[in-house]
């Protein structure tokens, strides 16, 4: 069984190159150099374009993903969206052992008629305890971008709020 697990891991890693070809643009986005200390990029498989571990602290992880996704703000219902989002997370994450995914703070910023930025933060529960997440979603009209920071609830914040915002903005490609 362990062999299977190991091989699965190898094969998944191996498949990364394959996925890379399918990934949308912007895959080169990175943490700004001046803030990149202690962040180590790690291998990814399906689901994210890039991921970084914060070395001084276990379970602190930053992920970035980008997808083609048509978006029309005229048909967007904020209330339905957050309701559906919570439900989608609850159901979809159950299989990864994640429970009680809960939004504690949310903010929707309309950048233009086509572009919105959604800022979320909240908690969820896994075996090791509660986890904090900070997630920003950017709908550009044609694409969907997401940056998520995962930290243990009792962890110290790796960077100041301002620095984190800089990283988020940089990865999403939007101005502060």
């Amino acid at each position: 069984m362990r062999g299977f697990i190991f091989i699965t891991f190898l094969l998944i890693c191996q498949s990364t190159a394959l996925f890379a070809k399918e990934m949308p643009r912007d895959i080169l986005r990175d943490i700004p150099t001046e803030l990149s200390n202690n962040w180590k990029e790690k291998a990814v498989f399906f689901g994210v374009n890039k991921a970084w571990d914060y070395l001084p602290q276990e379970h602190t992880l930053l992920t970035y993903l980008a997808r083609d996704e048509a978006f029309n703000y005229k048909t967007f219902s904020e209330e339905k969206y957050f309701e559906g989002l919570t439900k989608a997370r609850e159901i979809g994450l159950k299989l990864a052992g994640i429970k009680n995914w809960k939004i504690l703070k949310k903010k929707l910023i309309k950048i233009s008629d086509k572009k919105i930025l959604i800022k979320l933060s909240g908690t969820y529960l896994v075996k090791r305890g509660f986890v904090k997440f900070t997630e920003w979603q950017l709908f550009t009209g044609e694409e969907y971008h997401q940056v998520a920071l995962i930290e243990n609830k009792d962890a110290y914040s790796p960077l100041s709020k301002k620095q984190l915002k800089n990283i988020f903005h940089s990865l999403l490609g939007v101005s502060p």
């Binding site: 069984m1 689901g47 159950k94």
Partner: protein, 464 residues
Amino acid sequence: MKTLFFLVNFTLFFSLQAEPYRNLPCPESTYDTPELDRLMEGINPVVNVVNDCEEREGIEDAYKRKGDQGPPNWPEALLENPIDCIKGLFSGLIDSVVDISNFLWSLLKTFMNTLNASMHGTYNFLKAAFTGNLSYWFSEASNGASDFINSFFESIKAIPEAIGGLFKDKVEEWQCLNGAGQSQYVCKMIGYVGGDTLITALTLGGSKLGLISKIGQGVKKTLNLKKKHHRKARNVYEDPKNPLTHIPKRDLNQLILDNVKDRRFVVETDASGHYSVRYFDPDGRPRMFDGSPFYHYFLNKKLRREGVGTNRDRSKGNLRAGEHFTVDVPPEKFGDLMNFIEKQKGTLSMACTRTACESMKATGVDIGQKPVPSIDGLYKTLVKEAETNPQVTRVPVNLTIPEQALVIDRFRSNTNIVRFNFGAVAFSGVMYGGATVATPPTMVIEAMSSHIPVGADQPELIDR
């Protein structure tokens, strides 16, 4: 379409992975077999030397790049012989995964179409949001591959609650509750494949159970299942040209000698490796173990009607001859053989089909945790090999045991089918293979001791 792109790539990935297992040229091995011959004295051993040089080089290189030491909880055998582990664990799985993945993809498309209509304009946004779920998956379930898989398997337990009764029976079976002795490995593997479907269902609206029947219909249309999965076998009894017509059907149970009732198997399989094992328990009672309940349940209605797919022991009424291969396993020899192979550290491969390995387990043969490479790849190779052999002709399917005997008799005069030595030393190592690729992949395997008396002239074996 891009929402669940990973499933597509998953499928593609495994499709690509399947290719290297086919017919790679290798230099001749210098391996000598006297010790093995001695071990297997009296049971006509057939030695199969590992013949996967090119695969090995590639994989070994990849392995070495990862460093010589793995995590301390890695099994020793994996470190010593990653090739055999890889082959054993995956070569047999790949076809099934590809097949199931194709199914999943069709399921997914149907699901998406249905949901797209029902979720109106909100759907696209949630689709994007769901894609974002994968970040959390990555964060929480991939720190170690083992964590990921374990979480996955653990999570399967939550499935019945999430989707209701539809899969409940299946999940129970995946948890190996039937007491037939099949391995956790197989159960979990099936659970894994099934879990993918369930993820799809869950993430795209598991609560919409009313859609399931629609989905099923859509999948059937998409896959054209009847054509793909229900190859109509020629009925030898209805074919007036068939010389075997006069042979009456017989109860297989009556054909099994008392002294082999506890170690004789009828393994039914198809091109994708889905199989069921019919066997006799130590008391001589006929039993059935379905090795691919998920596949049979969803894709093969005929088998489902007959009870295959329930993964439970069946009565002897379900035992019938035909479209099978039969394997004799001398358990007392198997342990010695495995020990011997382990000593070779990669120079000799013990091989058995998943079906054969699992059938052994199903009847209580302990093959432990040692790596047992699959010969599914060889399975394909020999079918291809049969194409170029002028001696072979097509083997009818659905043969009864007496019919098989006739076919094998024909083989003895080199007129009908081809005989291969296959890698499963412990299984007497003789396979009577279909003659052309077009032949349904129903191989007739008989133990040598059953059909070739000791001392009889034996046809020359065809090397790999």
